[in-house]
C-alpha cells in the first residue's frame, strides 16, 4: 500500500495546496519572463546579468526553482503511482526524477550565486 511515503506534503490536502501554490509561483515567473523579453528588444549579456544581479530577482528565481522542485516531485509521484505498478521500478524512477530536480535546484543556486 502506497500511503504518504514518496509525497512531499504531509497529507492529501497539504500536497494539493503545495501543488497549487507552486504552480502560481511558476506562472508568475513565466509571465515576468515573457514581459521581460517582450519589452527588451535586444537582450545583451549586460542587461541579462544586470537583471539577475538584483537581490529581488535572485530571490524570485530561487523561489521559482523551489516551486519547480516541489511541483515536479509531487507531480511525478502522482503520475508514477497511477501508471507504474511495480514498486521497485516506481521507486527507481522516482529516485531519478527527485535527484534530477534537486540537481536543477542546486545548479540554479550556484549560477545565481555567481552573478
Amino acid at each position: 500500500m502506497v500511503k504518504a511515503a514518496g509525497t512531499f506534503g504531509r497529507s492529501g490536502s497539504h500536497d494539493y495546496i503545495l501543488l497549487r501554490a507552486s504552480s502560481v509561483v511558476i506562472f508568475l515567473f513565466t509571465l515576468f519572463m515573457i514581459g521581460f523579453f517582450a519589452s527588451t528588444a535586444n537582450v545583451t549579456y549586460e542587461i541579462w546579468s544586470g537583471l539577475f544581479s538584483n537581490l529581488w530577482m535572485k530571490v524570485f528565481t530561487l523561489l521559482t526553482l523551489t516551486a519547480v522542485l516541489i511541483h515536479g516531485w509531487i507531480g511525478i509521484w502522482q503520475v508514477l503511482t497511477d501508471y507504474v505498478k511495480a514498486t521497485g521500478v516506481r521507486a527507481f524512477i522516482q529516485f531519478l526524477f527527485s535527484v534530477g530536480l534537486i540537481v536543477v535546484w542546486l545548479a540554479g543556486l550556484f549560477v545565481l550565486w555567481g552573478v
Binding site: 500500500m1 502506497v2 500511503k3 504518504a4 509525497t7 506534503g9 497529507s11 492529501g12 490536502s13 497539504h14 500536497d15 494539493y16 495546496i17 502522482q78 503511482t81 497511477d82 501508471y83
Partner: protein, 237 residues
C-alpha cells in the same frame, strides 16, 4: 423490420482461454423500440450461455451496468433507438475483473463503499425518543446524493479508479461520503474527513468528469468531490 448487429463480449473462464467478441443479429419491428436489456434477453433466448445480471429492469436496482457502444450505462433504461446506430457493442464495465461474460466482480467497488462508513454515526448519549429532526433546508442538502443506486457506472468509467481501485475511493463512494459529511444528524464529520485526507482517497480525482457523463441517475459526483476537497482544504489552512 430493423436489423441490429450486436457484438457482445464473451468470456467463460471454465472453457475459454481468452475473451472474444461474439456477433448476434436481432430484428425489431419498425414501430417498436427495445431497451438494450430486452434485446439481450432476446439474444439469451437464442443463446442461453450468454450471461448478464439484471433484476428490476427499470433503472432502480443498479444490476445491469455495462459498457454500451463505449459508454457505461444501465441496459434496462437505454433505448436501442438512443444509440443512433444499428451496430451495438456490449462489454462488461471496464476495469473490474470479469467473472463471466458481462458479469464483473464488484468487490473492489464495494470495499471502497464500505471504507467511507455509509451509515449515520451519532454519538449523542441521549437519543431523541422518536426521531432526529431536520429542517427542510438541512434535508435538501441530501438531494442529488441519496439517489445513487451503486450501479458502478461512474467509478468504472473513471481513469483514477482504474489505476488505483484499492486506494482511490471513486466517484460513487465519494458521493456517499459527502452525503454523510453534510448530514446534519451525523456527528462524525471530523473523523470522516481524517480518513479521507491522504494522497489517494479523494485527491486522486482530477476532475475528469467521466462520472458525471455516465451516471444514469443524472447525479454529479464531481461536484460532491469538490465539496469534500473544500472541507479538507479549509481544515488544512
Amino acid at each position: 423490420m430493423k436489423k441490429y448487429t450486436f457484438s457482445v463480449y464473451r468470456y467463460n473462464p471454465d472453457v475459454d482461454n481468452a475473451p472474444h467478441m461474439k456477433e448476434y443479429t436481432l430484428e425489431v419491428e419498425d414501430n417498436q423500440d427495445l431497451m438494450v436489456l430486452e434485446a439481450l434477453i432476446k439474444l439469451k433466448e437464442k443463446d442461453p450461455t450468454l450471461s448478464f445480471r439484471r433484476s428490476c429492469r427499470e433503472g432502480v436496482c443498479g444490476s445491469d451496468g455495462m459498457s454500451i457502444n463505449g459508454k457505461n450505462g444501465l441496459a434496462c433504461i437505454t433505448h436501442l433507438s438512443s444509440l443512433k446506430s444499428d451496430k451495438i457493442v456490449i462489454r462488461p464495465l471496464p476495469g473490474l475483473p470479469v467473472i463471466r461474460d458481462l458479469i464483473v466482480d464488484m468487490s473492489q467497488f464495494y470495499q471502497q463503499y464500505e471504507k467511507i462508513k455509509p451509515y449515520l454515526i451519532n454519538d449523542d448519549k441521549t437519543p431523541p425518543a422518536r426521531e432526529r429532526l431536520q429542517s427542510p433546508e438541512e434535508r435538501a442538502k441530501l438531494d442529488g446524493l441519496y439517489e445513487c443506486i451503486l450501479c458502478a457506472c461512474c467509478s468504472t468509467s473513471c481513469p483514477s479508479f482504474w489505476w488505483n481501485p484499492d486506494k482511490f475511493v471513486g466517484p460513487a463512494g465519494l458521493l456517499h461520503a459527502y452525503r454523510f459529511l453534510i448530514d446534519s444528524r451525523d456527528t462524525a464529520t471530523e473523523e470522516r474527513l481524517d480518513e479521507l485526507d491522504d494522497a489517494f482517497s479523494v485527491f486522486r480525482c482530477h476532475g475528469i468528469m467521466n462520472c458525471v457523463n455516465v451516471c444514469p441517475k443524472g447525479l454529479n459526483p464531481t461536484k460532491a468531490i469538490g465539496h469534500i476537497k473544500s472541507m479538507l482544504l479549509s481544515r488544512a489552512v
